[in-house]
């Protein structure tokens, strides 16, 4: 399944192994894994991610379809979690396979840029000091410009 949105933890290494297995035609695989990172103050209790169930999978599938049209890819997978997750846990992963490395890298970066700013997820950090919704960064929005 190219797009999976789930509450349960997943193992990025197992995802990569699965993608590699049995390929004869792909020379290049790129993965991106996003992990829950502690706050600067080191007091993150956990992260909570809310999403829009009716929209999420379809929105990501649209991004994957776009990437598949634009670059020569053998595979483009996305796993993204929602719910509560601890420091160091994997939040999400993108994996691309292509005959050549340029396509695999570009498609993975494209998918990351779109997931950051166009997939309906909202992160909240729960720390000793309280709860804070993570603010979207202007750089993330600006990063989309390089694909148009």
């Amino acid at each position: 399944m190219p797009v999976v949105v789930q509450e349960d933890p997943f193992d990025p290494g197992a995802e990569l192994s699965r993608l590699v297995a049995g390929r004869r035609d792909m020379g290049a695989m790129v993965t991106f894994t996003g992990l829950v990172r502690d706050t600067g103050a080191g007091d993150l209790r956990h992260m909570e991610i809310e999403h829009y169930p009716g929209m999420t999978v379809r929105a990501i599938e649209g991004m994957v379809a776009h990437a598949t049209e634009r670059w020569t890819l053998g595979a483009a997978h996305v796993v993204h979690r929602y719910g509560r997750m601890a420091v160091g846990e994997a939040i999400m992963m993108v994996a691309t396979a292509a005959p050549h490395r340029g396509d695999a890298f570009a498609a993975a970066e494209f998918l990351m840029d779109y997931l950051k700013s166009r997939a309906p997820f909202w992160k909240k950090e729960v720390t000793d000091r309280g709860e804070d919704w993570v603010t979207a960064r202007a750089e993330d929005e600006a990063a989309l410009g390089r694909w148009s």
């Binding site: 809310e50 997931l115 700013s117 309906p120 919704w133 979207a136």
Partner: protein, 83 residues
């Protein structure tokens, strides 16, 4: 016209419900927001700065000038922070 309105993240928290059915004659998203703001203070506060609010119509990203048309679901949320 009856439409399902969804709120996410801090919009959900400020308004106090994740979704509600709304009876409206609004032509555009912007009109709908004006109707909601006129209802109660919690809506007025949540939508006080719409530059910080994004909207989806029937689960597709849209904008405040879009016509509601025969959309069945409108969702309001802050800028997304996926990835």
């Amino acid at each position: 016209m009856r439409i399902e309105v969804l709120y996410f993240a801090w919009l959900r928290e400020r308004i106090g419900v994740p979704r509600e059915r709304v009876e409206t004659e609004a032509g555009t998203v912007r009109d709908l927001v004006a109707e909601l703001r006129a209802r109660e203070e919690r809506y007025d506060a949540a939508f006080s700065d719409v530059s910080a609010v994004r909207v989806a119509l029937d689960q597709e990203l849209s904008d405040f000038d879009a016509a509601l048309g025969d959309a069945r679901e409108v969702a309001f949320f802050p800028p997304m922070t996926g990835g």
